[in-house]
Point group: D2
Chain length 357, copies 4
Amino acid sequence: MNSFGKRLIMTTFGESHGKAIGCVLDGVPAGLDIDETFIQNELDRRRPGKSKFATARKELDEVQILSGVFEGRSTGTPIAMVIFNKDQKSRDYSNIKDIFRPGHADFTYWHKYGIRDYRGGGRSSARETAARVAAGAVAKLLLKEFGIEVEAGVCEVAGIEAKEFDFDYAKTSEIFALDPYVETLQKEAILKAKEAHDSVGGAVLVRATNLPVGLGEPIYYKLDAVLAEALMSINAAKAVDIGLGREASRLYGSQNNDQITKEGFISNNAGGILGGISNGEDVIAKVWFKPTPSIFQKQRSIDVNGNEVEVELKGRHDPFVAARGSVVAEAMMALVIADMLLLNATSQLSHLKKVYL
Amino acid sequence: MNSFGKRLIMTTFGESHGKAIGCVLDGVPAGLDIDETFIQNELDRRRPGKSKFATARKELDEVQILSGVFEGRSTGTPIAMVIFNKDQKSRDYSNIKDIFRPGHADFTYWHKYGIRDYRGGGRSSARETAARVAAGAVAKLLLKEFGIEVEAGVCEVAGIEAKEFDFDYAKTSEIFALDPYVETLQKEAILKAKEAHDSVGGAVLVRATNLPVGLGEPIYYKLDAVLAEALMSINAAKAVDIGLGREASRLYGSQNNDQITKEGFISNNAGGILGGISNGEDVIAKVWFKPTPSIFQKQRSIDVNGNEVEVELKGRHDPFVAARGSVVAEAMMALVIADMLLLNATSQLSHLKKVYL
Amino acid sequence: MNSFGKRLIMTTFGESHGKAIGCVLDGVPAGLDIDETFIQNELDRRRPGKSKFATARKELDEVQILSGVFEGRSTGTPIAMVIFNKDQKSRDYSNIKDIFRPGHADFTYWHKYGIRDYRGGGRSSARETAARVAAGAVAKLLLKEFGIEVEAGVCEVAGIEAKEFDFDYAKTSEIFALDPYVETLQKEAILKAKEAHDSVGGAVLVRATNLPVGLGEPIYYKLDAVLAEALMSINAAKAVDIGLGREASRLYGSQNNDQITKEGFISNNAGGILGGISNGEDVIAKVWFKPTPSIFQKQRSIDVNGNEVEVELKGRHDPFVAARGSVVAEAMMALVIADMLLLNATSQLSHLKKVYL
Amino acid sequence: MNSFGKRLIMTTFGESHGKAIGCVLDGVPAGLDIDETFIQNELDRRRPGKSKFATARKELDEVQILSGVFEGRSTGTPIAMVIFNKDQKSRDYSNIKDIFRPGHADFTYWHKYGIRDYRGGGRSSARETAARVAAGAVAKLLLKEFGIEVEAGVCEVAGIEAKEFDFDYAKTSEIFALDPYVETLQKEAILKAKEAHDSVGGAVLVRATNLPVGLGEPIYYKLDAVLAEALMSINAAKAVDIGLGREASRLYGSQNNDQITKEGFISNNAGGILGGISNGEDVIAKVWFKPTPSIFQKQRSIDVNGNEVEVELKGRHDPFVAARGSVVAEAMMALVIADMLLLNATSQLSHLKKVYL
């Protein structure tokens, strides 16, 4: 259950403080230029330890491609990528060995598996998302061949909403903020929480541009449904909107419907998806992250024996996870769209005839 | 791509105005009492034509079980269920044969497949959800064996929010309203929109109670992620929250974390899921529906040849889809949880030993 | 676990003496002409009750298409087909209700599920293969668009081997014999066994012609491996050969290797598959069927309570199942190749560019 | 398409002369003791370079576990294992860079993908099977907990058949011969072929003992069908028999049926499988390997430009692949049975109740 996708299938493995994390990406068409620098750059964007807004854990996150690439191009065989863990201060975690940190997966992993790798959250750590970013980078390379681009940025921090959405600006922002005008306020909110040994939540806007019409496989592999799954699978995600999302439910049909002219859709309230299929407009989704559960205040909890304890965490944690989450959201959307691109290639007999006849 | 689930796999088929719709449910453990009356009752709850708040289309939605049940019990083989379409006024749709209705899947199906069954939306019609309700009813029967119950109701109509959540009341309400105190206002909003030939949106709260700890398969079959997919796959759904959802992103970590005592979790902001795995609390999700796209006002659109047209729909449509959507949301959550129950049965070696040794 | 295929996915349902059997075929590209007469003809070829060489059970096997076809063409949505059971003499089976027939699945179904639909073997009956033939017929229609043809015939009965392989002749033979010169002997062997209340086994040769190079997905969806699975899943199948099969293992490498010239491969010992991928030559497989387990002699067995019993079957059974098995083998090979055709459409970036750019 | 299994899912990656080969094994229940020495020993059994009967390529095949194991036990998360390639004499292959070796996958990979990693066969090399053996070793550890054992050995070399099947003896034989009395003849046949720069084929018998009744998921995940797929997916495999296999087709039903007494089945012609489900008897399968295609004689072929060439291979190759193939066959059968064990855990409601209630 550690695989994602139907035709472009990512399988990830690895624990926060194990030997390595990594992924196997199966289904990449042969003949794609695999730009390793680009992949590494994507990982560097997600990498912790770069600013005071994120965890101080310093991982170089150097990715190695083990297979599937020959002379710079994909061969059609699975692309395995591995990142060996370096900065694994496992000692930091010895004190929480038998304790369930509130808001964390400790409690559920323990009960589900009867055992847990407690070091840094083990498999449940957001560190796993580095593997997704590596796979997502390959998906982006594939999408680029078709002119499709996926971008993301932070649109809300602690309730402070972006009014403008400048995806280029986000690329340069330490917190991937989409709106330069509220970025300062947003940063202050993060630092204020950090100083109070607390954390804040936020939201990320993800956008794909230049999609062909037709991506998405009704009824149970709809583009919007799979995007929802993909984004909700990111650590700390608690809500997903497609297009106007929740806001659409407060409009009248006559307001919300995207009417059509010769030039295309007049509006894009739908977020580029109708009936689970892309309509050619920008695909827009929003994912909402809870505040980081790792805070440095005393909290009530229990240990594995059911005894009540007071937890006070040590270690290094992001006071705001949505920033790095935006890089992961991009990766997930890229993977979803690339998968849908492959799936849709056989939707019509005429497509197949172009390939074979 | 018309299948859902990994161990309990529902495959649906059928078009709104074709011969029949139906489903095949594979993976139901043998020995389950299959109460056909219960299944039919579930379908009756979703069935249109019962009140002025829903479409006047009258379908008896009589379900026939074709296989997988012998002498009242499941045999472990696939359970096929079929509902023959009766009230198919296909003529109603001849006028939109070549036209793309705004807000509908007409445009995307046409482009994706190069052909569409235009009668009543064909496969993209919400009629398909009757098949889900039939399958969901079987999932509910399975869950009942373990004391797990899934319930849903409407918590918001046209921005009018429920303050109380009375799931028993919802069962008796024509619009499945959770809050009797706002129900009248909510109904008025629907009727007002209907009279204006318009439609409204809303939201549904779904809840599962009495789950064991451990359901959900990280990393890519997380309970919350799959719920998000399941709920977003319902027609007209545009957003999904788990637990506090979006609201959680506006709290501090110290507020949002569910602390733990000997008696259990102090709060349930997480909606019963940590790290993608059920924690034993109620699983809570919310799904937001856009206003019905089928409205009876003039709208701009184009036809299949790219000519601009004015669309004015006829036919019978719900002015508010979330009510019947709540029955579907229940079915989808039941299917997800039942699937997770089966999957989790092999999470520990000790579980397997209970089965085999 | 009642589904087969990855992109062209057949799900079957139904029991021998239940209400109906049928299938849902998902993934058929839109725009394919669906010739219902052809589908019915395929079913008629498999249909029992036509000669003294097969069971006297008379089923009309009238197939109804419930979905996925509009105005004679596939729409891209799942094609559901159903065959209602007519001639269900359930009384024939009351005497074996609690008994395990030797060579049958009675024993294993009972133990696996704790319950069994004993009427005519229930789900384990070869009657299920009618659903495969319906789905296979659609696969054949798809393959025909690419000039690919799948044919089969009986090449051995009770050890009497065909020396010639005339697939056209097989179409006219009551036992689908490939070799007219040994057909009489083969028929005599069947009738002799039948008279002795016994049964015989045999083998079927299946061939696909005119495949493109490239079908088959290494490493775990190889064309030969999936063919082996497909053919071995047919009732009573006990062995599968690809190309020379077992005989190849008794040659030297220098004899067995298919050398290549400008004109193509000099020989086809490989059966058209190298490394799990089609090489453009005819794909050849052989499937070996055990003698029908249903014989009308006294046999030792036990009942569900563990008591020893003497079984003496009544009812109607084929004395030789491979004949009708050859129709099923064709269907299975057609399904496999069609699935591979769809999968291979995304093997190269250049293929995708043909579809999208 | 590089994954195998439904609940115990092995994904392999890597090329013969790339950086590494490896696998990710997902679905291993938590709490299993992972004996790394045992896994390494299994790899050592398959490892080349140990005798004159196998290729001289010397790989240490040192396996590293990267994830999924904590303090010696499985945690329920994916177990990634990697083997870095050491002895990669890529130069050996430069002369066949543009040439299709007869009997190899060069031709088909080239055409399927438009590119190939020609070094040592790339992905199509039998080197990939080392990853299977690693995964299979974990499956064996799981099966051992339930008393199930899987063993294999060579039963035929160049037409020389074993008459006795001594699985313990096979463990000590350089060619994994099952029958000590014909082993010398079999070895001579291999060496004689080797001296003639040729190769021979053979067959392997695989056996699983002590299975519970009930493993196998009809209709399309039958134990025998999936075994056939698993064994046929091994490099150079061309035929698979279950139980008596082909021989059964030459018996009468009255001879072939395994009659039953209180003490169990009187015979085991079926190879332990009825209706696709294990019946508690030994599961028996045979897999037939073609002679190694890599021979050191002149052969006719073409190059990537279609020019006719004479190929004369250099490099190091097994003159007889079935010996090492027997280790792989064991691994594949272990994986299949372990997967079926997990799947069957939910076949009955009563099983689930044992886990949850």
